[in-house]
Symmetry: C2
Subunit: 221 residues, 2 copies
Amino acid sequence: MLVVHHLNNSRSQRILWLLEELEIPYEIKKYQRGSDMLAPKELKEVHPLGKSPVITDGDVTLAESGAIIEYIIEKYGAGKATPPAAGKLDNLFFTHYAEGTLMPILVNKLVFTIIPQRVPFYIRPVANIIFGSVSKQLLEPNIETNSKFVEAHLAKTKADFFAGGDHPTSADYQMLFPLEAIKQRAPGHLGPNMKAWVDRVHARPAFKRALEKGGQYDLAS
Amino acid sequence: MLVVHHLNNSRSQRILWLLEELEIPYEIKKYQRGSDMLAPKELKEVHPLGKSPVITDGDVTLAESGAIIEYIIEKYGAGKATPPAAGKLDNLFFTHYAEGTLMPILVNKLVFTIIPQRVPFYIRPVANIIFGSVSKQLLEPNIETNSKFVEAHLAKTKADFFAGGDHPTSADYQMLFPLEAIKQRAPGHLGPNMKAWVDRVHARPAFKRALEKGGQYDLAS
């Protein structure tokens, strides 16, 4: 039986969505973030990197969202997550782009917001100046460029999903977490087609089942 | 003809290595970083994200290292970059892990080193304290965990390349840039098997040809 080692409020929610969408039997083993927001040590017993998502499937232990999604689709997908031929390259691109380019920028936006709040109070004013300036000069323009790019792609495809078809493919499973993060943490950058895409995913029965099984997940609210 | 839009000192050096290794004909169009270390605006004319690597191949314009490497191997690889059956999952994992997990940490190490050097001199002492503390508490333990994980994998495979075979596969092309970065910027974290792997890649005739064609590339020194 495939087991999803699922951390609350994390990228592994998209693995649950994929499994529900493809109607693949699985078990969930749940892990809760500590008060420091980090994954608990027990995850290190599953995989040495100690992060989520990670799955076990018989002898296989596999981490890294993109790898897990591709593994599940290839082994259990039965063609249900195959992109249309014309969207194969878009699917390949967005499958890598979600974690290779977009997520690191969004994680840094979060880190750069949190750090000034956590330094000793007497250096907080200087910290605010430094991190505010880096955000403005480096991060915000980067989020803007990337959001406009994603928005333009969705506007151009004129289809429901990233690869241009009528069903989600690996690109959609990968893109869910970063687009939810933009909706929550940088809503000014969420274009109308991005918003429609997130709403469309959230309305799917499979997504709702995954949410119920995964438990607390702030990004879908 | 496949064209690599190649930025000096960038992740696109690994695309040149791949093309030389597979003996695929290609052209290079070179771009130089500005004094701000960023990619020049001309790259935005090739792809809206304005980054490198990006390739054009007839009607296809494709960015994102992982996507480019998979595209080239599938279209032109003729089986030469196929992983052994037993290493297929390792290949899948490291192909995503290189940019999805390892690179963002290494980029942040660089960013967190550069920022304190660029703030006005009168807040530099406070900046050094803040960024030094974040590096020590957050980044360094993360680099250590990941380096040990990569080292353990290479020690375990007892083979020349990441997927356990005698020739490079997509995992190796993806892992080259982050492992070169650890060798240069965090040499204390470079384990003996990681060092042997980097040296082995750098000794390959195809890598040397790629280096000659790509021009200035600090990470290979």
